[in-house]
């Protein structure tokens, strides 16, 4: 088949763009976890703050990605390198599912369990690390899973601002009206998304309490 022939001929470039893609997705997911989980814990503890935080995260989610990439372009330090900019934008998009699931996961822990823990004299941090987080873990991980899948898809757009990744093939293919090129970007991206989804799902089941 022509398509496979094309991939084979350009395998070095496919690999390179795939790695670039993973670079964007990897960093943005890491940042989303590092920022999103503590933020989710915080708003779960102070329920009054949950609404504004979730609303802001929601609004970010509604900004069209191409527009967000464009908005960030003139920002001084970020605009210097397209991948920095793309990672920031992807992080912003990945935040909502991580924050929301951390919040719902912790709020969803059986109140009787939390009350028993508190009544037995667990400190707030013992309660958080020994009870609430372990019991919320699978919900939090499924948020991370959604975040990764969103990032893999959105990262293709990052090629529009020159951040590289599999989007390069897609945009080039669109410009040249070449379906093979488009597929050479789209199919590896889809495979990446599926693989990421599968592996986090596996981790989720492995870490499931009980």
């Amino acid at each position: 088949m022509n398509f496979f022939h094309f991939i084979w001929q350009n395998h070095a470039q496919v690999l390179e763009l795939t790695l670039e893609h993973l670079w964007l997705v990897g960093w943005s997911t890491l940042f989303a976890i590092v920022i999103g989980i503590p933020l989710g814990i915080l708003i779960a503890r102070h329920p009054g703050s949950s609404k504004p935080v979730l609303t802001v995260a929601n609004i970010i989610q509604t900004i069209p990605s191409l527009a967000l990439f464009g908005f960030l372009l003139p920002v001084p330090w970020l605009g210097d390198r397209a991948d920095r900019l793309a990672i920031l934008a992807l992080t912003l998009y990945a935040l909502l599912p991580v924050i929301r699931n951390t919040y719902t996961g912790i709020r969803g822990v059986d109140p009787a369990v939390v009350e028993a823990g508190r009544g037995m004299g667990l400190t707030d941090s013992q309660l958080l690390f020994q009870v609430q987080l372990p019991l919320a873990l699978s919900v939090i991980l499924s948020g991370v899973r959604v975040a990764i899948v969103i990032s893999v898809g959105l990262a293709t757009i990052a090629a529009a601002i020159g951040a590289g990744g599999l989007g390069e093939f897609i945009f080039r293919g669109l410009a040249m009206v070449n379906n093979q090129l488009i597929l050479a970007g789209a199919i590896p991206a889809a495979i990446l998304a599926l693989l990421a989804d599968f592996s986090v799902g596996w981790l989720e089941r492995r870490l499931q309490p009980r």
Binding site: A112, E115, A116, R118, G119, P209, R210
Partner: protein, 272 residues
């Protein structure tokens, strides 16, 4: 504070309750965050070693009273004293670890084995593994659980077994006081009667001060040294079980009547 000491104490103590109050409510009122009063001017004390029942219908304030003891709630007015000291003084974590707490939904940690559940307070208190192991097998025996249960998870246990684990967990660090909120409420009648009987025997042997919340008159009569009837956030009266059935107080007799059967059909503490 070891289990061994707890036993020794029990042997030297007379089987009857001592007069020194372990818990005192002094003019305690509690207003819910929404603004409605839940408890008003409660004056009540539990003597050391007795089983004080807080009896009342839903919304009478009995659970609130219980949570004021281990500071899960703070009174709007008045104070609660534990062993003579206002419980607002000192560290809340220390206070809670010195009081056992059992609730109806048990609140066992679903991701912990039976062993980890029971050993939680000793573990966070930094007991040596050897001491925890000894205490654990002692506790299993006390509440009538098989050693094979140690590695099970709560969802693998029956309701009765879960409650036994809950009681063992509350007793783990050998607290002098136990707070129990309808601990046997969700069990079938047979299992409930069985656990009530065993628990009564255990309490009399260990001489713990127990504050026990229930809406079930039979349970109150069966277990209580004294019964405090609460109605709409106020204490109606405190009576020994045998006086409870004879009381002329309209609220007391209304409660007795609501249970349908005549007094003679309701089992009494020690007579069943």
């Amino acid at each position: 504070m070891t289990g061994e000491l707890g036993y020794a104490g029990a042997h030297h103590m007379p089987p009857t309750a001592s007069e020194r109050p372990a818990i005192e409510f002094v003019d305690v009122s509690y207003v819910a965050p929404g603004g409605q009063p839940v408890l008003s001017g409660l004056n009540l004390s539990a003597r050391g070693g007795e089983m004080l029942i807080l009896l009342g219908r839903s919304g009478s304030g009995k659970t609130t009273a219980l949570k004021l003891v281990n500071r899960l709630l703070l009174p709007s007015a008045g104070e609660v004293r534990v062993n003579g000291v206002p419980n607002s003084q000192g560290d809340v974590i220390r206070l809670r670890r010195s009081i056992g707490y059992v609730i109806q939904d048990v609140g066992l940690f679903p991701h912990f084995t039976v062993e980890r559940n029971i050993a939680l307070v000793p573990t966070i208190e930094g007991w040596s593994p050897e001491r925890i192991r000894l205490r654990f097998s002692e506790l299993l025996q006390m509440v009538g659980l098989d050693a094979a249960m140690a590695s099970r998870y709560p969802h693998q246990l029956s309701g009765g077994q879960r409650q036994r684990v809950g009681v063992a967990r509350a007793l783990a660090a050998d607290p002098g006081i136990l707070l129990m909120d309808e601990p046997f409420g969700a069990l079938d009648p047979l299992t409930r009667a069985e656990l009530q009987q065993e628990f009564l025997a255990l309490q009399q042997r260990l001489c713990k001060t127990v504050v026990f919340v229930t809406h079930d008159l039979r349970e109150a009569l069966r277990l209580g040294s004294r019964i405090a009837l609460l109605e709409a956030g106020r204490l109606v009266t405190v009576l020994a079980p045998k006086d409870f059935l004879r009381s002329n107080d309209p609220l007391v007799s209304a409660y007795v009547k609501a249970f349908g059967d005549g007094p003679e059909q309701i089992g009494n503490r020690g007579t069943e």
